[in-house]
Structure formats: structure tokens, C-alpha cells
């Protein structure tokens, strides 16, 4: 008897079918906001190079309502990005001491610790 395997198409809305798929897509989506924010910072540096007045205008534009909405969204997605990647880090960095495999807790904590230290360093440099 001849075979007739049937291939089902994956629906375009597959990422809505399950909460875990949706949070994965949110993590993927976060790169758009992180990327856009990086472009914004580069733009700020460019305006700074043009002079004090141009940089002042740039800072003023940042306070417009659309800019505030963008910043709020970028903050939310940056947090999603950070928290979700930090929680996945132990998978890439398994810890084993002797025979014993350790839990991923220390790896996640180390990531948060480095985050705090780097943020504090940036704030310190910004104040000088």
C-alpha cells in the first residue's frame, strides 16, 4: 500500500498558543527596543558633537510625550530581556564540583551582582 503522509502547517499564531511561547517572543521582541535605544544614544552623541544648543534641543525632545512612552516601553522590554536571559544563564554555564552538579542559583546571582556593580560604576563615572 502506498504511503500518503500528511504534513500539517504550523499556524502563524503559534506563539499565542501557549504562554511560554508568548514570553519567548517577548524576549525576542526586546531586542528591537534595545536596538532602538542604542540608536537613540548614538544620535545623542552626534547631537552633542554638533554643539551645546543642538544637544539641548535633543534633551528637550526626549521629554516629549512620544519619547516618554518609548522610554517606558524600552524600560519594560529591557527588564524582560535582562531577567529572562539571566534566568537562562545556568543552562549555558553548568557547575560541577567533583561528582556533584550544583544548582544554577549562584550563576544567576553572579549575573545580578555584576549588573549592580557595573550600574554603580556607570553612575559613579557619570557623577565625576
Amino acid at each position: 500500500m502506498s504511503r500518503k503522509p500528511y504534513l500539517r502547517k504550523m499556524p502563524k499564531s503559534w506563539w499565542l498558543a501557549q504562554r511560554r511561547y508568548t514570553s519567548y517572543m517577548a524576549r525576542e521582541m526586546s531586542c528591537v527596543f534595545i536596538g532602538a535605544y542604542s540608536v537613540l544614544i548614538v544620535l545623542g552623541l552626534y547631537r552633542l558633537s554638533q554643539g551645546r544648543a543642538e544637544y539641548g534641543a535633543f534633551l528637550e525632545a526626549l521629554q516629549s510625550p512620544p519619547s516618554l512612552v518609548f522610554h517606558a516601553a524600552a524600560l519594560v522590554f529591557a527588564l524582560i530581556h535582562t531577567v529572562s536571559w539571566f534566568s537562562l544563564a545556568p543552562k549555558a554555564m553548568p557547575l560541577q564540583i567533583g561528582e556533584k552538579k550544583l544548582s544554577g542559583g549562584p550563576v544567576v546571582l553572579a549575573h545580578y551582582a555584576v549588573w549592580v556593580v557595573v550600574s554603580a560604576g556607570v553612575l559613579l563615572v557619570a557623577r565625576i
Binding site: 503522509p5 500528511y6 504534513l7 500539517r8 504550523m10 511560554r20 537562562l88 543552562k91 549555558a92 567533583g98
Partner: protein, 248 residues
């Protein structure tokens, strides 16, 4: 007292008569110690002998009875009716694979991919029986033991949207097994496996959805194996860049 029952909706596909698969609903007795596989066996034995599905051990060892239960890949011998009762249960063949018949999926693609990563110990040099056993410490064993637990049930492939969208992707179980042998101190075949494992269709097609590890009934954690292979392959790449004359 009337008998408690549960409705089971099964995706049927009989290639000789059906153009497309369609759901068919059966009513089975509800027992709190029954798993989905018991319900399927009840249907096969008492209601409809034409229903096709794979199973063998009934104890989550053989890896044959994987299917989609309410949209989630599960071993049907490992999913209790009591976790669904009194709601209707929807059963489909494993997602991302073609359907051979009813709940039977075509798994040839996986078999070819598994073979391509050479999932066996490739020793540096052949050992004679007289050389004695190749000893390994418990620490060396524990480095890869979890990956040996894979039963090739393919739940991870059914859970992986990347495999569904990019059928050339080697996929979670095959890459986890490649990693398992790469970590084995008796093995020297990593370079041969890297041809497939470190290619675009290998670990680099993985976008770390992580769902493979969530659905694995044996806690193999293929997502971890793939990320570790990515790191090792990246280190290889940098080594080759910094020292093009060195041994790969």
C-alpha cells in the same frame, strides 16, 4: 450510580480514505488511575479497532507513545486522566512531524538526523578486549549522565517552534546526544560531530526557546546541551582565528 465518563477528541487520519485529518470524539470510562494511553487502549479494544497509535512499555521508558495532549507534547502513558477530568481531552499526533495515520507520526527525519551526529563512542584508537575496561570516574560520568537519559520520544521536537519553522534544524534530542558523546572521556569523535552540530542547521538554528527542556519527560535538558555546544563552537572559532596554524 452512573459511571463517570470522559470525552476524548482524537485527530483521525486514514490516508486511504481521508483527504485531511479530522477530529472524532469518543466517550471512555473515567478511572482516576488511568492514563491517556489506557483510554486509547480502551477505545481500540472496545469501541474502534481502526484507531492507530504507537506504544510499548506503558512506563515512560520506551518513548513510543508521545502525542499532543491538549496541545502539549506528552507521553500518553505519563498523562493521567485525573489531570484533565471532567473536561474534554484533545489528542493529536506529535506536532511538527507528518502524520502517517491517526496518532502515528513519521519520524524518519529525526532518525536521519540522529545518525548524522554519530551518537556513539568514537575512541581515539580501537581497544582490544584484553586492554580491559575503559575506566571513568563518577565525576566524569556525571558530567554527561543526564544526556544519556534521552529515550528518543521526540516530545522536544514537537515542542520546538524552530524545528516546525525550519525543518532542516538538526533539533534538540540529536544535538543533546551529540553533546553527550562529546563530553564522554572515552570519546574522541567531537571533530567529526562538529561538522553537523556546529553548522547553521546545527546549534545555530536554535534560538533558545527552551521549550524542549520544559517538555522532556526525562529531564535531559537539550536546551542546555545546545547552548554549551554553541559556547564550545565559539571558542573553537576564536582559537582558529587567533592561531590559524594551531590544531583545531
Amino acid at each position: 450510580m452512573t459511571e463517570q465518563t470522559l470525552q476524548v477528541e482524537i485527530l483521525r487520519y486514514r490516508p486511504e480514505t481521508d483527504q485531511d485529518p479530522a477530529f472524532q470524539t469518543y466517550t471512555v470510562p473515567y478511572r482516576d488511575d488511568w492514563v491517556i494511553l489506557d483510554a486509547l487502549n480502551h477505545i481500540k479494544d472496545n469501541i474502534d479497532r481502526t484507531l492507530s497509535y504507537r506504544w510499548s512499555c506503558h512506563m515512560a521508558v520506551c518513548g513510543s507513545c508521545g502525542m499532543m495532549i491538549n496541545g502539549e507534547p506528552k507521553l500518553s502513558c505519563h498523562a493521567f486522566l485525573r489531570d484533565y477530568y471532567p473536561n474534554k481531552v484533545r489528542i493529536e499526533p506529535l506536532a511538527n512531524f507528518p502524520i502517517e495515520r491517526d496518532l502515528v507520526a513519521v519520524t524518519d527525519d529525526f532518525m536521519e538526523k540522529l545518525e548524522s551526529v554519530k551518537p556513539y563512542v568514537i575512541p581515539k584508537q580501537e581497544r582490544a578486549v584484553d586492554d580491559g575496561p575503559h575506566l571513568q570516574t563518577p565525576a566524569q560520568l556525571n558530567a554527561f549522565k543526564q544526556y544519556t537519559m534521552c529515550i528518543n520520544c521526540l516530545l522536544c521536537y514537537a515542542a520546538c517552534p524552530q524545528y516546525g519553522l525550519t525543518p532542516n534544524f538538526v533539533g534538540p534530542a540529536a544535538l543533546a546526544l551529540a553533546h553527550r558523546y562529546n563530553l564522554d572521556t572515552r570519546d574522541a569523535g567531537r571533530e567529526q560531530r562538529q561538522e553537523i552540530a556546529a553548522s547553521n542547521e546545527g546549534v545555530w538554528d536554535c534560538t533558545f526557546v527552551g521549550e524542549c527542556s520544559q517538555v522532556c519527560p526525562k529531564s535531559v535538558d537539550p536546551a542546555a546541551a545546545i547552548q554549551q555546544t554553541k559556547i564550545a563552537s565559539t571558542i573553537d572559532w576564536y582559537k582558529a582565528l587567533l592561531n590559524p596554524w594551531g590544531k583545531r
